[in-house]
Amino acid sequence: MIISRQKEFNNILQMLGEIDIFIIGCGKCAKKQRAGGEPEVLEMKKKLEDAGKNITGWTVLSSACSITSWADVLSQNPGINKADALLVMSCGGGVSVISGFAGKQVYPALDTESLGGVCCNEVVTEQCGMCGDCTIWLYGGICPVIRCAKSLLNGPCGGAVQGKCEVDERLCAWDKIFERLKELGKLENIENIHEPKDHLKTRVKKA
């Protein structure tokens, strides 16, 4: 699941130069995080109207990043053609896909943070660094590329104080990696030296 959060309403308002706006929510990740599902879209609609915008319509697509037919979206939402701009309440993937079809100005209402998931109804952030070369099995299922603030592959940096990362409130990922590998009886995985990442694999392969 793509982790995103809503922008400050004032920032959204500053972005939107146009008056006639159509709002598109996303029924997948953004809905799960209560950032772009129906209740949030309706709340956004009200706030924008209160701020003097004319909302020409709204919809929540089943998945903003995965559209079968833009023609179908248009036929079901005549308000889109009446709008000067679209406000999309999804991750950057959804905003980009819609921008590719829309032929008009598209604004993001959310900021995309990381690739995470949902477990027992709880959203978990920063689970995958999208490096294109998954070696998570070497680290007890905890990805150092994203969970370590410095993406270190060969062990902790020495900057943690009492197990807390020097960067923010998070716990040192390397303590967790160590504990997990110990439990699994696979400490040799981090005793081995890991070579630098091949970032060529991160880049999107073009057909």
């Binding site: 410095k150 993406s151 062990g155 902790p156 020495g158 104080v161 960067v167 923010d168 160590f178 030296i193």
Partner: protein, 292 residues
Amino acid sequence: MNFISKLRSGKFIITAEISPPKGTDTSRMLRDAALLKDIADAVNVTDNQRAVMRMSPIAACSILQGKGFETIMHITCRDRNRLALQSELVGASALGIGNVLVMSGDHPSKGDHVGAKPVYDLDSVQLLGMIRELNRGVDLSGNKLDGRTDFCVGAVTNTELNEAGLIKLKKKIKMGVNFLQTQAVFDVEKFSGFMERADEIRSTQSKQIKIIAGIIPLRSERSALFLNKVPGIRVPDDMIKQIKDAKDPEVEGMRITAEIIKKLRTMCDGIHIMPVGNHENTKKLLEMADLI
């Protein structure tokens, strides 16, 4: 005798840390360096330490070497990708800088450019491996160099390590370092424990690796309390009380520090003085510790 020869000779090493200027005016850096003339075996030059932007260590080292100082250039993984790290190192070598000290580097969020993009393309273990290749005359992609580097290489370590930290230290040693510089030592007994573990690693990997203990002279109760917030540093409570109760905290700090140095002398291969931008008392401190 150069630094690597001194390391090999078994002499008790004295290094001292200097910060490049924040700007182009090198006068303060040179003043600090002058206080170390004939005292330090080599001068460490920091690399945007605490992620605060300063003159590049390669420039600062070059200027200092021109004044007759042998330098140890710090190089962190924070600001440069593998191309930049290699070109910097090759350039440093061509400028006559023969010693480097490798570390991950404090995260940009700790410094004065908090919005900077952290690089960390390599980690410190991988950077050590890369330097080993440059010393062999090959770059990280296996291309042959026109003229190899010949670095004497150091790495850093905390002295209170958890098990994951110890594994990392072993890896650094495996990558062929000549010396290790530690975070500041205040608790000599705990340092002795660290040395036991380090000796175990040294005995299985390479006995030649020298261990240089970090020293930060205490100046006041406030500075001691501040240091306790720095990762890897722990000033014992009784030491803080000693400073607090002293008539002249700075003199008391020097006395305590000299005592620490005297005890460390029999335990490790050298000391590294980090007085945070002020070497006025360094000479006196070394005299008090009977080192000069």
